[in-house]
Symmetry: C2
Subunit: 163 residues, 2 copies
């Protein structure tokens, strides 16, 4: 199931991201520390959504000790250099995810079970460009969220009540 993006579909290509991060740090006069590298490795070892707390526990499980503060500081950096996307899905906290080049996905959020379904719809990107042009707006990122009820919940036994 390969994609047209190509140069980012296998693990080896992490080199590209590594280079981007390294250059970003250098340009800002920042350092490549053990903690930043460890966090980078962990984050780019999967393709899933995660939040700051997830990352803290994953690091702990791996025996890599990184404080919560550093996790937040590093996520800021990775977000600033565009390697990690940061979204608020109407929750109380940020949710992060690897930023894949050339492919953007949006989210269906089930308000009943909390499930998040990702979808890709190129036509949305096109529309978006039209809209930005209309307002002479220079887009850097976007997120489209649709909240509602997913199939499983729709077929599930009727909810006990408004709760």
């Amino acid at each position: 199931m390969s994609r047209k993006v190509g140069y980012l579909s296998s693990v080896a290509d992490l080199n590209e991201e590594k280079r981007v991060f390294a250059e970003f740090l250098k340009r800002r006069g920042l350092k490549t520390t053990r903690e930043r590298t460890a966090l980078f490795e962990e984050i780019f070892s999967t393709h899933h959504h995660f939040d700051a707390e997830d990352l803290v526990s994953r690091m702990r499980e791996r025996g890599k000790k990184v404080s919560r503060a550093t996790v937040y500081r590093t996520l800021d950096l990775l977000h600033d250099c565009g390697l990690v996307g940061r979204v608020r899905l109407n929750e109380e906290k940020y949710r992060y995810e690897r930023q894949m080049q050339g492919e953007h996905h949006d989210h269906l959020i089930c308000t009943a079970c909390g499930r998040i379904i990702e979808f890709v719809e190129p036509k949305i990107e096109v529309l978006q460009e039209e809209i930005c042009a209309r307002y002479a707006f220079q887009p850097t990122s976007h997120s489209h969220q649709i909240r509602g009820i997913c199939v499983s919940c729709k077929n599930a036994p009727p909810v006990p009540a408004p709760e």
Copy 2:
């Protein structure tokens, strides 16, 4: 510039919203209190975005005393019954807005000056229906956000640096 929706374009039509809210409360066995009514009136007196804190001060200015806790509790109710939209625009807090029937707008968010530009694009709504059908997802609300730089900021003096 009237719209096909019609029955919601003038102030008088607040009756419709009032009815919705009243029925919602009744169905849940809740009461129509002075505070809830006052908050409803205040919220529906404008069409602008606001956050919980804005509402607290607006109420205070009007001399209506409502505690912050009640503001939050009432916003939850209005959101639950669909009269008020609630969005996270990548800020630290919720932003609320009147939910207009038949017309949905989305947001351009300037990351330089914080300005929020609303836009309406019916084609997005159509696309969305397609997507939901694709996943047998039953949508209840949605929000599309595009982050970037607005015209004024683009023409503004170059930013001092990464800050």
